[in-house]
Symmetry: D2
Subunit: 169 residues, 4 copies
Amino acid sequence: MKMAILATGGTFDKEYDEIGGALYFKKTHLQEMLSMGRCRLAVRIQVVMMKDSLEMTGTDRRRILDACRACEEPRIVITHGTDTMVETARFLEGNVPGKTVVLTGAMIPYTFGSSDGLFNLGSALSFAQVLPEGVFVAMNGRFFPAGRVRKDRRRGIFVKSPDKTTGTE
Amino acid sequence: MKMAILATGGTFDKEYDEIGGALYFKKTHLQEMLSMGRCRLAVRIQVVMMKDSLEMTGTDRRRILDACRACEEPRIVITHGTDTMVETARFLEGNVPGKTVVLTGAMIPYTFGSSDGLFNLGSALSFAQVLPEGVFVAMNGRFFPAGRVRKDRRRGIFVKSPDKTTGTE
Amino acid sequence: MKMAILATGGTFDKEYDEIGGALYFKKTHLQEMLSMGRCRLAVRIQVVMMKDSLEMTGTDRRRILDACRACEEPRIVITHGTDTMVETARFLEGNVPGKTVVLTGAMIPYTFGSSDGLFNLGSALSFAQVLPEGVFVAMNGRFFPAGRVRKDRRRGIFVKSPDKTTGTE
Amino acid sequence: MKMAILATGGTFDKEYDEIGGALYFKKTHLQEMLSMGRCRLAVRIQVVMMKDSLEMTGTDRRRILDACRACEEPRIVITHGTDTMVETARFLEGNVPGKTVVLTGAMIPYTFGSSDGLFNLGSALSFAQVLPEGVFVAMNGRFFPAGRVRKDRRRGIFVKSPDKTTGTE
């Protein structure tokens, strides 16, 4: 099964700049993470952008949507900052017909050793293989349909939200 | 969704004994790994045994089967040594009605830093949530039905095997 | 031989706050690092402060000096942010009679996995055991007398500086 | 100051063979460790052999001695398995005139993440710069003259031994 991973940045791929003492983006660690996981899926990695998700604009989300539509692979994982992952998921929802799209990210940069990134990547790639057409968020070992998830910023976890249409849970 | 993880040992949970210079089992690292992955699933961890899978006997497999049947949770992940994971999967197949059972393991101990364990655990927990009733192996980012998988020992990866009944791939 | 480690903060002991996405101090990792190094020296750890060295004031340096003087141990390692380590070393120089004081730090936080902290701690503790009375900086595997060192901020390393009194190297 | 590191193997440089499930030597990690430590000493690395120290013979020790004598650098660190590090130190003692030789090793392989190797390397390189002519063991943050040290195998640490000549401590 052919799959694509679209990298957009986020904590996932941040690194520590030892000269300036701040976090920054250098390159994606996805290939290294797939090797660590001994992943043998036919995965194509595409860097769409390298952004902190708090700085993502409507134009950026449009580029992500275009990248999803342009993918030949019917199953797509998007790595994304957690702060606005839900917004991007909702932006994509209903607009990528015929494909399964799973967004994931990390609370701790992969390079920091104690990251949840490898767990989340394994999780997202797995969900993407078996979930039906649609847009999902995979975090904390769980999956959520795009319209039924929010980030609890205080606790740093993703939780189910009431259905945006009907208001029922 | 309630899930169970049954630990049986394997490379996954091996540690390096710095006095004797050999690998051994001390305790399972599953709780630590779930914390690292910021996992928020309702998971119960049960240590069934702590064995190198090359030393597993028919009696051991019977105990694993009994543990699966005794689980109240309908979705089960089993951590297992990779050398005989396929044998155990086949032993369980067809004998755990109404449940989804996913076996996983690691090529490198979790404590060694470069382990595939965290990736595999994220993957197995995800597959276990969405795959139908049956017994599966989750390794290398992929899932395989119990009867359609073998370990390629030379390359250290799991590959699809011909259907054991019909001989077709 | 009795030794003391005085912790003052710095990158050494910084951690990543996964909720806020910024670096902060929680507690010192010195005990954990000594355990990792299987260190068997009689070392007493004292947290004097937990500060980014760019925020250290004259009052802070006075407190560090007082702590050095109050130490019963004649051999002292100070963990310190690298940005103003040289300033603190010069402030202490000549004011801690009868003692060997070695300042060290890290370019990458210990918790980030790829830190130089463990190497530097091993180095500083060793230099402190054999160098004569005086104040020294131990970084990059080297040691420098307090008056003969500066940080090359662009390259992130410590280098020998001309003698501050005579101007000769 | 010019220094040499002579690699002879030992736990320090062992790796985990994920196909065979055993420990083995592939290559030395010394360059990687010096980079991690941001070491800026002028160090030349020479691989003399890659051996488990339990398998070292008199011929091997002779080769190590020859390598020490052939070094142009007057300050030498030898990485060595801990099991017979003391024997090699005694073999070298008195036979490397005009040079400071410091042996060190690790209880846990460097690649396993929780290794004492980086701490010990920082320590050994530092002792080698300031100790006088002679042969020393640097382990557990301490240094021992070659004739005054033994490994406490039960506890996995190095301790002072009675003077081999006079029997006094």
